[in-house]
């Protein structure tokens, strides 16, 4: 995983480096004197070659926990991120929870009752939901539940209520995807030979589904849920911005608008690192659950 983190951070660093502007003038403002600007640039290592700048950046980040100073707010980037990351995480996990609770059981149901109404209706709605951008659903929810009904606040993080609409706005498209994938995984599993063997043993349909099929069908669902996390983040950023939640996503967006290099670099890298951790956790849990993979790891093979 370490090489990936290095690779990611380097890539981002290089890309963002292309944004015009130097730290000196941005931090000190337009009115500052040229000597002050030059001194600050020298101090921050702006004149060093790219690789060295990258090395310095990573060193500061890992060993001194410093990610630079925001051009816009003049405060340390790391503090801002530390404040905002938890909010983004809460929003994201709420959405995942919502999507799994609705997506997986309905997916199983539609697979078991294939081609009946219990299948066509959930599948149709799922596809419809998965075809929407999260911000659009968010806007509609906002319109109905905030502006018309007044049940939930439209913006800000006043209370737990503020988290409900973002959860639904993000969770619905993601849940739609989960439903479709659970359904196809389930359908494929039901067709497997070992399911037929179970029936030949005299197992009831219910036992076959719950005991034999589910366990196998859910394995790929876990992986896909992890992999689609990336798509979730996209929607999460838009949702944060829409609902005015002070999360990391909206922070990065405003950073880009303001050409706030340290914020954008630090923010995206942190996001990417967290993302890698999530994927890793999903992979590990997969290994935990599937005896075939567990054997590979415990057998000492790496």
């Amino acid at each position: 995983m370490i090489p990936i983190v290095i690779g990611v951070s380097f890539l981002i660093f290089v890309i963002i480096d292309m944004i015009p502007g130097d730290p000196g003038s941005s931090l000190l403002g337009a009115g500052a004197r040229q000597e002050e600007i030059d001194m600050m640039n020298e101090q921050l290592g702006y004149n060093l070659p790219l690789l060295q700048r990258y090395g310095k950046y990573m060193y500061d980040a890992v060993f001194r926990l410093e990610l630079g100073t925001s051009y816009a707010t003049k405060r340390p980037v790391i503090t801002e991120i530390a404040n905002r990351l938890p909010i983004s995480m809460i929003v994201a996990f709420n959405a995942i929870f919502f999507s799994l609770v609705f997506g997986v059981p309905l997916g199983v149901l539609s697979a078991v009752k294939q081609n009946t109404l219990f299948d066509r209706i959930p599948t149709g709605i799922a596809l419809l939901m998965a075809s929407q951008p999260a911000f659009l659903i968010g806007l509609v929810l906002m319109l109905i539940f905030s502006l018309w009904l007044g049940w939930f606040p439209a913006t800000g993080i006043a209370s737990w209520r503020s988290y409900v609409m973002p959860m639904i706005a993000l969770g619905l498209p993601y849940g739609g995807r989960q439903l479709r994938f659970t359904r196809s995984s389930m359908l494929e599993t039901i067709r497997q030979d070992y399911v037929r063997t179970a029936r030949a043993k005299g197992a009831s349909e219910r036992l076959v589904i719950w005991k034999h099929a589910m366990k196998n069908a859910l394995l790929p669902v876990i992986t896909v849920a992890g992999n689609s996390f990336g798509i979730l983040i996209g929607g999460a950023i838009a949702t944060e911005t829409l609902f005015g939640l002070p999360g990391l996503g909206s922070f990065i967006v405003s950073g880009i608008r303001q050409k706030d290099v340290p914020v954008v670099t630090g923010g995206i890298i942190i996001f990417a690192v967290v993302f890698s951790f999530v994927i890793l956790a999903v992979d590990l849990s997969y290994a935990f659950v599937d005896p075939r993979i567990k054997a590979k790891y415990s057998g000492g093979r790496r």
Partner: protein, 332 residues
């Protein structure tokens, strides 16, 4: 008829989809006594597996249809039973083992769990978990697998051993009838011999009747008391093993099947396969199903399906036997 363990009469099965109807099994009749081994021989697509699935009532729900006939097992009509009763028969009184051991076992359950499940599902005499565990060990020993391996998962076993596990599962409740659908086709030849030999020993020990489905005439010779040859969903020849292997009278298809086997003893430069392919099961020909490929075909064969002719225990469905000495037309 009443001393038969299972009796299938005039069974016909179709697979119906929006596009087409496949006539998989067309009016077959055969029966087994207790402890008898019955061979069902034929090419791929002849309807053997469909017959087996029909006996187990495991046909795919959405497309499989039984369009006629009856199956009597142990005095009961299987086709009329409610699903719940059928479930108690499956695995306990009639068991089935399938062709591909690689995919027949659930990859995320240990071998012990899967065999134990067979017993737990039919736990009539209220065995305790302890009893069941002991029985799993017994059964594993019976098929030649050390009980120490019972916590292992299917992927940790070789193909031959997986098939033994499958057989162990099927025989765990000591069923009266075992249906074996090409049990060794997916295994290599040396393992095949081992598995067949094991099946025979178990059958002798437990007194299980068996329907052995195969396209391998060698296996039929080794294991079966009676044999039926299926073609395009019909039984075109049936008799005892002697009838099939030793008699000189045969359906042309059966002759073709034997002719396709390489003979180690005699000098042959080429094999004689049967020309052509089995008819499209959605569009069966009007007369005899085999007539397009039959080297001995007569004019009547295209027009009229043949009747069944009997000579003692030997039955053949072919126009060639009309009026032949010793062969009498069998009234349906």
């Amino acid at each position: 008829m009443t001393d038969h363990l299972i009796s299938i009469q005039n069974l016909s099965v179709e697979y119906r989809s929006d596009i087409e109807t496949v006539y998989a099994v067309n009016n077959i009749t055969f029966s087994l006594k207790k402890g008898e081994t019955f061979g069902l021989v034929g090419e791929t697509g002849a309807g053997k597996t469909t017959t087996a699935l029909t006996i187990m009532r495991l046909l795919p729900e959405q497309t499989g249809r039984i369009t006629g006939g009856s199956i009597d097992f142990d005095g009961r009509s299987l086709l009329d039973l409610p699903e719940s009763e059928m479930r108690s028969i499956r695995g306990e009184q009639i068991s089935m083992i399938f062709q591909d051991p690689m995919t027949s076992l659930n990859p995320v359950m240990s071998v012990e769990e899967q065999i134990a499940e067979a017993m737990e599902l039919h736990n009539r005499d209220n065995k305790t978990p302890e009893d069941i565990r002991k029985r799993v060990d017994e059964v594993l020993l019976m098929v030649g697998i050390p009980p120490s391996r019972k916590h292992d998962y299917p992927h940790q076993f070789s193909g031959g051993m997986k098939q033994r596990v499958v057989i162990a599962m099927a025989l765990a409740c000591e069923p009266q009838l075992l249906i074996a659908d090409e049990p060794t086709t997916a295994l290599d030849v040396t393992i095949q011999a081992q598995v067949i030999s094991m099946i025979r020993k178990l059958r002798d020990r437990l007194g299980t009747a068996m329907i052995m489905i195969t396209h391998d005439l060698g296996i039929v010779a080794q294991t079966c008391d009676n044999v039926a040859v299926m073609y395009a969903g019909e039984i075109i020849e049936m008799g005892t093993a002697e009838d099939i292997y030793l008699s000189s009278d045969h359906h042309p298809y059966t002759t073709g099947l034997f002719g396709s086997i390489p003979n180690l003893r005699s000098k042959t430069s080429r094999l004689t396969p049967i020309a052509g392919l089995m008819p499209d099961p959605t569009h069966l020909p009007e007369g005899c199903n085999f007539s397009p490929r039959c080297p001995l075909k007569m004019e009547i064969c295209d027009r009229q399906p043949p009747c069944i002719y009997r000579n003692g225990t030997h039955l053949i469905s072919c126009h060639l036997f009309e009026g032949r000495e010793n062969w009498r037309k069998e009234e349906a």
